[in-house]
Symmetry: C2
Subunit: 446 residues, 2 copies
């Protein structure tokens, strides 16, 4: 008999789960239920359509109808899963036309994603306040940007900063507000984030840091934001204060929720119900440095979790070891990324770390086009193992983050990293790789 | 009493040895002897001056006179070390003006480099036959290129191909000759090198492969090259058939030479004489995959060996673990690199390998500017460990080679690599890193 696999959610985690399930079991009946009205699109691409790097939102649809047909997957758009009966192994779902349908499953994958955090401030529901999480959000914001002269972005995380760049590229005067004193506060230490902030300031962006937005001003339509007594005019307010995992469906079904508020999973992405898996933004995993529960909320983690959940749901055997929060972005031609724990975070969890930091160049000194590259490596003092890294500027930052990620994940110590047999050509790098130099500096401080 | 450190050779390995020695011992007397008439320059930069990417050969002088002054190093240009007396611990050297001088040492570092292999064919000494190994070579070749209409390059290794690009950029019709059937034959397998060859052919370069150059034609001045009966006209012939380590000085002093014809060293870069170290192109080390003696002949290896030799010569304690032949180049905007063993090489040494290969893209499908990237990973069958990698095309190839290098050096198996927590942003990479995808393909074939 055909195995029935139902997947709730059809974005990164959901579709990767479906693809992996199909590869594992050629015969399984695979059904995807999504609230969304659009075929699977790339959420991470939204800011780049706003900025004009990508022509239209349609380009973001990475899995068109035909993909699902070819792979024999039944994708139900505008279909909201409303409840799970774990005993009868069924999911109840409501279509947009009001009809209800029951889906039987042998294995269920929850890839319900996350939703922007509703800021608890006055006026948050006014016209002109946006989020940037779905394709619909993108369409609405793009429309508003056509006439807007000014914007306030609340939250200088990745989405907030990428949207800020888009605003600037469209000639919109933008102020970024954050109650913490730095940009990308959860991802970078202040000595690294200041470089990012400077780049934005050079591009005309104003930052109001260390102050909370108190209220959204205006009658029906947004006129500005009140921040620490000051009034910042704005035609658009973007709430980019972060997202929360969507776990109501799981919770109602009695599935265990973890301390991060994500759905608890084991390394096979199995929830507290052995027939139900979770993956993506809604799923809690462990942090590979701290060993503690963690909620990555990153596309890269979502696809990896989805794949593992899909393989296991289809009867295969795969393991997702956990996350290192590897991330990267490119803003105003500045590459920036990180992995593992930050210095701030290490302090908070009582981990004694030593820092190796260097600013070097990406090409031989005499070769044109080289850029300054700043590398920071964190090493746990008593074990000498690499536990974190941050990079700002330069070229090939993505793969340098991946190098540090590989080192951390494989529990390499700083001496291994300092001995790396790196390659060299004057047109593409320096004879001494900046990561190796930073590692040597850390060694000397241990 | 001040320790006396004498270094023979003042290029990559020699100067990095001097710098490391100075950092290790602030007081030591450091003397560098070099045959060269120029201050320390980057050999790897020579082809890029010829092609016009770098304005002048002077730009390649990375360590100017003042550097040696500030670091209290006595650099003797145009001074050829002629013999070593290991008992009295002295080096005899001959200056260009014919005077001889004796240098006492406590520790000696041999960084004598390599010399282009003299092809054993008729007419090799004719006017118009060049090599590209020293700055003087570069100056002579640049002069010849001013009037040359055609060139033949013998040997499509890294120097040969980088020079070929320079010839093309200067409007010189170029033919590349090689007795083996592929380009970069020692570095890439045919399924990868064919992409490089195609790129050159698209740029107007002709290849005559699988045939040996029999003779250089012309009276005094070169007119062409005879290859397998065919006559190829040429105003310039570049002998890029490779280099041989300079070991005469060591050999005469009774220092052990290894099976690769390089000076034998241990992991501290010590030769068979405990007071004498060797580093760079003249020094034999071990290959980290095969465990066999190896001669890297790469700038990246030279600086690393030099640093270790310098630290140890100055009384410190450092280890050079061996080489993986990590290399990279950029030719006609095509990045190409490799590390570890090739499939061809693995076969030769009786290593049973499995290949994971994929062509993917460097950015999200919808993001402009992404390039095709071809990754090949080699895995030893019985141990599952990663033993080699090759990449052609795309972006961020240098750091991807470094990722594979790190994996090989730390004896990671393919399952570790397939589980890498890579980062993602649509502007700089794909959600699924091509290295991870290639690793998964290899896993399935194991």
């Amino acid at each position: 008999m055909q195995k029935k696999i139902v997947i709730v959610g059809a974005n990164a985690a959901g579709v990767d789960a479906a693809v992996a399930a199909r590869k594992t079991d050629r015969e399984a009946e695979i059904t995807l239920l999504t609230k969304d009205r659009y075929y699977t699109y790339s959420r991470c691409g939204l800011p780049f359509v706003l900025g004009g790097h990508i022509e239209s939102f349609e380009n973001l649809v990475v899995y068109p109808p035909n993909f699902f047909k070819v792979n024999r997957m039944d994708l139900r758009l505008e279909t909201t899963a409303t409840s799970i009966d774990t005993k009868s192994k069924t999911v109840e779902a409501l279509s947009n036309d009001g009809t209800s349908e029951t889906f039987e499953y042998d294995k269920l994958v929850l890839a319900t994603g996350a939703t922007p955090f509703r800021l608890p401030i006055e006026g948050i529901d006014k016209q002109g306040v946006y989020t940037l999480h779905t394709l619909s959000d993108g369409l609405k914001l793009a429309e508003a940007m056509k006439t807007a002269k000014s914007a306030v972005v609340i939250g200088p995380g990745l989405v907030g900063l990428e949207a800020t760049e888009a605003f600037v590229e469209r000639g919109i005067k933008t102020t970024v507000v954050e109650m913490l004193p730095t940009v990308l506060p959860r991802l970078l230490d202040p000595d690294m984030s200041s470089d990012v902030q400077r780049k934005f300031e050079e591009s005309g962006v104003t930052f109001v840091l260390g102050k909370s937005a108190n209220a959204i001003l205006g009658d029906n339509k947004v006129k500005g934001v009140s921040v620490g007594g000051e009034e910042i005019p704005a035609d658009i307010v973007l709430n980019a204060a972060g997202v929360r995992p969507n776990t109501e469906l799981a919770q109602k079904a009695g599935i265990a929720i973890g301390e991060t508020r994500g759905i608890k999973t084991n390394s096979r992405m199995q929830t507290s119900d052995e027939n139900i898996y979770a993956a993506g933004d809604c799923a809690e995993t462990i942090h590979l440095v701290t060993g503690k529960p963690a909620l990555p909320l990153l596309g890269s983690a979502a696809v990896k979790m989805g794949k593992v959940a899909g393989i296991n749901a289809a009867g295969g055997d795969a393991v997702y070891p956990g996350t290192l929060f590897s991330w990267v972005s490119r803003v105003f031609h500045l590459d920036v990324g990180g992995v593992g724990v930050t210095e701030f975070w290490a302090k908070q969890i009582g981990m004694d770390v030593v820092v190796g930091k260097i600013t070097s160049k990406t090409r031989a000194s005499y070769f044109p086009g080289g850029l300054p590259l700043k590398v920071k490596i964190l090493v746990e003092k008593n074990t000498r193992r690499v536990v974190g890294g941050q990079i700002v500027g330069g070229e090939e930052v993505t793969q340098r983050i991946n190098i540090l990620s590989l080192a951390i994940q494989n529990r390499m110590n700083i001496d291994d990293l300092a001995k790396a047999d790196t390659c060299y050509a004057p047109s593409v790098c320096e004879a001494w790789e900046p990561i190796v130099l930073a590692a040597e500096i850390a060694q000397r401080r241990l």
